[in-house]
């Protein structure tokens, strides 16, 4: 038995690192987050708190469940 039996090839190393460390999804960038925050603030300032909360929750659900932060 030899320890080298468990050596990874460069390709296996890359694939394993990508599997172990969650990679940011396409579109999940600070620009998107800032955009989402801007919309939420706009809603708070212009409309009522009820509408603001509903909109913020909807945005969060979108981002986390089906959107870019998934």
């Amino acid at each position: 038995m030899n320890l080298d039996n468990f050596l990874l090839t460069p390709e296996e190393t890359t694939n394993l690192v990508n599997d172990l460390i969650p990679q940011p999804q396409a579109g999940c960038t600070p620009v998107v987050c800032v955009g989402v925050l801007a919309v939420a603030l706009h809603v708070v300032v212009v409309w009522s708190y009820a509408v603001a909360i509903t909109a913020a929750v909807a945005l969060q659900v979108y981002c986390v469940v089906i959107g870019p932060c998934r």
């Binding site: 468990f6 050596l7 296996e12 190393t13 394993l16 599997d19």
Partner: protein, 309 residues
């Protein structure tokens, strides 16, 4: 010979890494940015004064932090201790790590006694070294960190005292019953892949290498040999070895449990020893692909457990 020695050191082991390979190892290590500390350990490294002084001087010249691990047999009086420590400090030593516990004390009495520890620690502090007393325990031993702090008296605030537990491997396998189970609640061995040790025959291990002195388990931690290749090549293989990733992130004790639910492990080194000697066939049969897939599964589970904690 100390009953708790997990590397099986003693007078029958008088091998030492030849000088040319000490220099080669340090020169090659100096080109690897992540290697920052060089430790001389054994056995008792002060029994090879020429090698030790060369190691300290060369390592310091290359800019490494330098440390020696010793049982302080040379510190019967404060004057003797000062003479030794001053010499090492002048060569570039920065850290003095003194091993002291019930097991060492049995033999330290031949050269003085527990006063040696106080003398060595005082000389270390006086010379401005980072000074540590490391205690190794079982459930039966009486010396622990608080005992040492009392022994050190006025020095206690200036000396780091650490508690650790034995690994029941090599000669310490005779202490299996009194060994305390000492395994991390999450994750594996922080030493695997982040430390290497170079042994007198040139073998390089991917960790502190405790189990390599047992011929049956040597293959498991041996990643290369400094007398035959460049240290870079050995470190490169260590970084690309998925079994080492598993040991570091998940732990060898988790693998042991997968191979045999009933098996008891007391220490991470003990778990590696079991994998090397008792479950090597399991490792061979399941192979690299199985380790890769199980590592992915365990890392996901580990994230969930850490978040839950």
């Amino acid at each position: 010979m100390c009953r708790h020695c997990s590397v099986g050191a003693g007078p029958h082991h008088n091998e030492v890494l030849p000088v040319e390979y000490v220099e080669k190892a340090l020169r090659e290590a100096s080109d690897i940015a992540s290697i920052q500390v060089v430790v001389a350990t054994g056995g008792e490294p002060t029994l090879f004064p020429k090698h030790l002084e060369l190691l300290i001087k060369t390592a310091a010249d290359f800019g490494f932090i330098t440390r020696i691990v010793t049982n302080a047999w040379w510190a019967r009086t404060l004057e003797m201790a000062r003479r030794y420590v001053r010499r090492w400090r002048e060569l570039g030593l920065e850290e003095l790590n003194i091993s002291f516990d019930d097991f060492h004390l049995e033999y330290l009495r031949l050269f003085g006694g527990e006063e040696n520890v106080v003398n060595a620690a005082r000389a270390g502090v006086e010379e401005g070294l980072r000074t540590v007393v490391a205690v190794t325990r079982t459930r039966e031993t009486k010396i622990d960190a608080s005992y040492v702090r009392k022994l050190l008296g006025d020095l206690a605030g200036e000396v780091i005292v650490t508690d650790d537990f034995i690994s029941p491997t090599s000669r310490a396998s005779g202490l299996y019953e009194e060994a305390v189970e000492n395994l991390p609640p999450f994750g594996g061995c922080v030493h695997a892949g982040s430390e290497i040790s170079i042994h007198p025959n040139g073998d390089v291990t991917f960790c502190c290498g405790h189990i390599i002195t047992d011929p049956a388990s040597a293959w498991f931690t041996r990643a290369g040999n400094i007398t035959k290749e460049h240290l870079w090549d050995v470190v490169d293989r260590i970084q690309r070895n998925v079994l080492i990733w598993y040991i570091r992130f998940i732990g060898p004790h988790v693998l042991v449990k997968k191979f045999n639910e009933e098996e008891e492990t007391k220490h991470l080194c003990h778990a590696c020893h079991l994998l090397a000697t008792k479950y090597w066939k399991e490792l061979e049969t399941r192979g690299k692909e199985w380790i890769i897939n199980d590592l992915k599964k365990e890392v996901k589970g580990l994230n969930v457990r850490v978040l839950a904690k």
